[in-house]
Amino acid sequence: MNRLVYALLVGLVGAGIVHISVLFLLPHFTERDAWSQLSQVSDFYTPTSITGTTATTPLIRSVDPLFSAVACRFDLDDGVVHVQAPGRVPFWSMSVYDRNGQNIFSFNDRTSADGKVNFVVLTPAQTIEVRKQLPEEFINSVFVESDIDQGIVVVRAFVPDRTWRTAIDDFLSGVSCALR
């Protein structure tokens, strides 16, 4: 009898340990997160539409139907990422996410220098290197310093009505996500 009670207690303590480990490991091993879904359709540094057209279901859930968005994955171990897009739209915003899809940094067209999409994502160590001799193409860029290695950049644009659709699609297809 004593041994049975002992076994039950050990089992409960074990359940607690399993509970905590599953909880902390789940974000790292899930195959349903944004990173895994993006990696199934596109490679690193390839801007991919995550909203889809009216006929296709969106790649990422809970994106506003009045928005179009592109996402690209990056790895700062390879170098810094330079994201640019020509043209103007009524509203755009961008976010940098880490490998687990947690939002690290965001800004919109009013917070950028000249209202254009032009920013560089880099680590603190890379910032020091880049600042030593600022390359010509980074002069107007916003520097997004983050302590991550792999991550996702998302650029969202507002589509006020159907007449804007072509202009917004052109804008988003012009988004470049380049490794420098």
């Binding site: 041994r3 049975l4 076994a7 039950l8 050990v10 089992g11 409960l12 303590v13 074990g14 359940a15 607690g16 340990i17 399993v18 509970h19 480990s21 599953v22 909880l23 902390f24 789940l26 974000p27 899930t30 349903r32 997160d33 944004a34 895994s36 879904q37 995550i50 990422i60 859930r61 809970s62 994106v63 506003d64 139907p65 009045l66 996402a71 509203f91 915003s93 976010s95 996410y97 880490d98 687990n100 899809g101 947690q102 939002n103 690290i104 940094f105 965001s106 800004f107 919109n108 009013r110 917070t111 996702i152 998302v154 969202r156 507002f158 006020p160 009505d161 159907r162």
Partner: protein
């Protein structure tokens, strides 16, 4: 010998089964953790950021979303009307009241998994503040119904439960500290189809 084996198996079953099962239950039940409720609307300002609690992080990873950042906006969802009844697609609702300051906002109807509901033929599935018809004092009134309505009409189709998602873009209220200060409009039920 047999007893030792039985006890070992028992310990393992309780540990692995109980541990995994309790995580599963906790993730399905932790819907309300980290929520901010304002007059029937709820928002999760921290979910999808590094400030989220461990349960929200695990649930968020399973859902595969990409949350709006602070500088982008904040989304509120309403599952119930002002009387406390669950929102249904076969009912007609009006939204009335003041909206907090934001550059613009959008509103759409979604199912329980936050997938946008298909709109009636030749309608768009969402409305936004830049196309609103306003009364002389600047207030807004939106009708959500499967039947056409004058004024601002958000058309829905089908039957079953739904939720309304109101997203404020480029707003100072997006941070968790400021979000409690704002006021949101009421969702009033005006009638239902038999």
């Amino acid at each position: 010998m047999f007893r030792t084996l039985f006890l070992t198996v028992l310990v393992l079953v309780i540990a692995i089964g109980g541990g995994a099962g309790s995580v599963w239950l906790a993730l399905n039940a932790s819907e309300g953790i980290g929520a901010v409720a304002i007059g029937g609307w709820t928002a999760y300002p921290d979910v999808g950021t590094r400030n989220a609690d461990t349960y929200s992080k695990a649930r968020f990873a399973r859902e595969g979303g990409l949350a709006l950042g602070r500088a982008e906006g904040i989304a509120f969802a309403a599952q119930r009307d002002s009387g406390g009844a669950a929102l249904r697609r076969e009912c007609t609702y009006t939204i009335e009241g003041a909206l907090p300051s934001a550059r613009f906002w959008t509103i759409y109807a979604a199912d329980e998994q936050r997938i946008v509901l298909p709109p009636p033929t030749r309608r768009v599935p969402a409305l936004h503040s830049l196309e609103m018809l306003r009364t002389v004092d600047g207030a807004i009134k939106i009708t959500i119904s499967s039947h056409p309505a004058p004024g601002n009409w958000l058309g829905v189709t089908g039957k079953g439960p739904m939720q309304l998602v109101l997203t404020l873009y480029d707003t100072p209220s997006a941070t968790a500290a400021r979000v409690l200060e704002i006021e949101l409009p009421q969702v009033l039920r005006t009638g239902c189809d038999e």
